[in-house]
């Protein structure tokens, strides 16, 4: 080996070693701070959760969850980059470090939590699988659907839930499988199936695509639990805490009545819980590696959980979803965040 070659080889080895160790030692939070932005994995287009709007901005509840993380870390919800990921590549993208956090209507299951090297940080939307049925059939419950043809999207847990449900109830069905959710509604509109099944959060949006939306009804009974939430890599507890507490701070803010509109007034509030949340007393941010006003920045930049819900999926949006389960625990729902103290 000539000297020149030796030098080159040594150089490459050194760089490779530096890259490898440099990555291994830096925590996600440090990497994010150094980069100056959070990289967030979102869907490839799902109304209300993550979808490009007319000005080519990402909008949706999953997108706002990401912006809240950026606000917590940088005090600026715009310091964020989005990566559109499809269902197949989402976990790889997170595992390989291509994204810092995955906020892509991902259902929290034991397998995903335990065997993929990932951690679910919480639930930003409690969803469930439901049915849309042609109104003329007069069906009231999924139990009456024996022998029905069902339009369904391929490659999701929806397909497995459907099979489980029909088997458990001793019923038969024909599945009409499509590649995208858009195609399922086209199939339903063309009378190729009697029933369409999907997550309940999407059924209303799909129904609005029918020529006559009142020709289809949504059944109230749900057949599965689909808790959706942000996911991070396993093994970085600091970043796990940041993402987890960002969502908790939004829920706590709603419970305490702190909104993006009144957050500045609330800073002078006498309520010790509000003071702790907004960092006017104590320094709770430093425990998770953030500034004292981290939660103030979240509420100021993105709003509390209720605002985020109303803006993206609530009754005044085209999706028009009721709060239901996604209401606070003291308001008929199941959202409950541990206190900040």
């Amino acid at each position: 080996m000539s000297n020149k070659v030796k030098v080159v080889v040594a150089g490459i080895t050194a760089v490779a070693a530096m890259v490898a160790t440099g990555v291994a030692s830096a925590s996600t939070l440090e990497t994010v701070k150094q980069r100056g932005s959070v990289i967030c994995g979102v869907s490839d287009g799902l109304p209300g959760f993550s979808m490009p709007d007319e000005r080519a901005n990402w909008t949706g509840i999953d997108v706002d969850t990401c912006r809240a993380i950026a606000a917590a870390v940088f005090g600026d919800p715009t310091k964020i980059q989005f990566r559109s990921l499809n269902a197949r590549e989402r976990f790889t993208a997170l595992q390989s470090g291509e994204v810092d956090v995955l906020s892509r209507n991902t259902t929290w299951t034991l397998t995903r939590d335990a065997s993929l090297g990932l951690n679910f940080t919480g639930v930003n939307y409690y969803d469930g699988q439901g049915f849309m049925v042609r109104a003329s059939l007069g069906v009231k419950s999924p139990k009456e659907l024996d022998g029905a043809t069902v339009c369904i999207q391929a490659g999701t847990t929806t397909e497995l839930n459907l099979a489980d449900y029909f088997r458990a109830n001793g019923m038969s069905y024909d599945a009409l499988v499509f590649d995208t959710s858009d195609q399922t509604i086209q199939g339903f509109a063309a009378n190729r199936c009697d029933v369409l099944t999907s997550d309940i959060s999407q059924l209303a949006a799909l129904r609005s695509k029918l020529d006559d939306p009142s020709s289809a009804v949504l059944l109230e009974e749900l057949i599965s639990k689909e808790p959706l939430g942000p996911v991070v890599r396993q093994g970085d507890d600091q970043w796990f805490n940041v993402v987890k507490w960002t969502l908790k701070a939004q829920i706590n803010a709603e419970e305490l009545g702190v909104t993006s509109a009144n957050v500045d007034e609330m800073k002078s509030s006498e309520n010790p819980e509000v003071q702790r949340l907004l960092g006017t007393s104590g320094d709770f941010g430093q425990h998770i590696g953030l500034s004292a006003d981290w939660a103030y920045n979240i509420v100021k930049g993105v709003g509390n959980y209720g605002e985020m819900f109303e803006r993206n999926v609530g009754p005044d949006t085209p999706l028009g979803l009721p709060r239901g389960m996604n209401n606070l625990w003291n308001n008929g729902g199941i959202l409950y965040a541990p206190p900040i103290r």
């Binding site: 979808m51 000005r55 990402w58």
Partner: protein, 368 residues
């Protein structure tokens, strides 16, 4: 009866000339063809009328919101409001002018190639500019550069038609030279070079493009060390280029095989070396023969770029798909897909026309 006079030249029967003659000759030459004409004509007209009715007569063109789509026909308003997204993807609005400049230069390079009034020399200069300086210039303009005061715009926000064209252009510009080298290598006398080229071509040609893209986006990151990632667009570009150059190589090899052995021997007899002989005698003839094959591959490359949607890049088709699900609009899937199909058709048809022009112009020695 003969009275010594020459019969006057009569005009042809009125049924065999003019419009009637043309119709009779081309549409109703026999009773069977006549029946076919009537049946096909019925199908064409009966499907065209509702389509024109829907797409033009009853359609809404002007407006800004879903409320402006009041009639029963197509809602082109939707395309209008999303046009920016379809063209630029997530590219920041304040920087759109940079992409526009590149589109303008692209047009200035491409359009003159279609006119015979432009001299061959100018076309040549534009062509060379298009494959050398232009890609570098486009990269600096679209990606940005601190030295020129253009803010960096990461590839993750590139999208729409711009992304489709970038993928196709890089694929085309890179696949042809690589394909030529591979084709020459496969016919080389040197066993190692030949073996390498054969393995390369057969490997890339034996795998579907979608598999390559999927491997590059899902499997590759798992083999890289933690936290080391490289650009997703770059991965797609490399995948598309290598895949298409393998196809290109085989097309060009077909041309090389069609050149008579005498031409090779003549090149050698003139004392030309390998590269001179190839460059001056063999390749110009071989490439001319395979223009239809090359254009075929290029058109399929252009359309194959839509496969990048499996790795989450927002090309034109993906941008359309991501917006037609917007619940604020009624069912606009048909409008979206027709728009995408139309744009693809315009580009593919232009490529096809250009290749036909090129064939006519170069059709010098082999007229039969």
């Amino acid at each position: 009866m003969s009275d010594g006079k020459v019969n006057p030249v009569l005009p042809p029967p009125s049924l065999s000339v003019g419009v009637i003659g043309w119709i009779k000759k081309n549409l109703f030459p026999s009773w069977f063809s006549g029946v076919l004409t009537v049946v096909l004509g019925y199908f064409i007209i009966s499907s065209l009328i509702p389509f024109i009715d829907w797409a033009i007569l009853k359609a809404d063109f002007i407006g800004e919101s879903p409320a402006d789509c009041t009639s029963e026909g197509a809602c082109w308003v939707f395309i209008g409001t999303r046009l920016d997204f379809f063209i630029y993807g997530f590219y920041p609005e304040s920087e759109h002018w940079r992409v526009n400049v590149i589109y303008l230069i692209f047009g200035l390079i491409i359009v003159p190639q279609f006119f015979s009034a432009v001299s061959a020399r100018i076309k040549m200069i534009l062509g060379v500019f298009g494959v050398t300086v232009f890609p570098a210039l486009s990269f600096v303009m679209i990606y940005g550069s601190e030295t020129f005061g253009l803010p960096i715009v990461g590839t993750s926000v590139w999208g729409g038609l711009t992304l489709t064209l970038i993928l196709a252009y890089v694929g085309i510009v890179a696949a042809i030279p690589i394909g030529i080298l591979l084709a020459l290598g496969r016919r080389s006398d040197m066993p190692l070079v030949r073996a390498l080229c054969v393995v390369f071509i057969e490997f890339w040609r034996g795998v579907p493009l979608i598999t390559i893209l999927f491997m590059a986006s899902v499997m590759l990151p798992l083999f890289l060390p933690d936290g080391v990632t490289f650009d997703r667009l770059l991965r797609a570009l490399i995948g598309i280029t290598l895949f298409q150059s393998a196809y290109m190589a085989e097309v060009i090899r077909g041309g090389l095989q069609a050149i008579p052995k005498g031409q090779y021997e003549a090149a050698e007899a003139l004392g030309l070396g390998y590269w001179q002989g190839m460059g001056l005698i063999i390749l110009p003839q071989a490439l001319k023969i395979v223009i239809p094959g090359i254009v075929n591959t290029l058109i399929s490359l252009f359309k194959d770029t839509t496969l990048v949607l499996v790795i989450g890049l927002f090309d034109l088709l993906r941008a359309v798909q991501a917006t037609i699900i917007d619940p604020a609009w009624r069912n606009v899937a048909t409008e979206g897909y027709i728009f995408a199909a139309f744009v693809f058709w315009v580009f593919c048809y232009s490529m096809s026309r250009y290749s036909q022009m090129l064939e006519r112009k170069l059709h010098t020695g082999h007229k039969r």
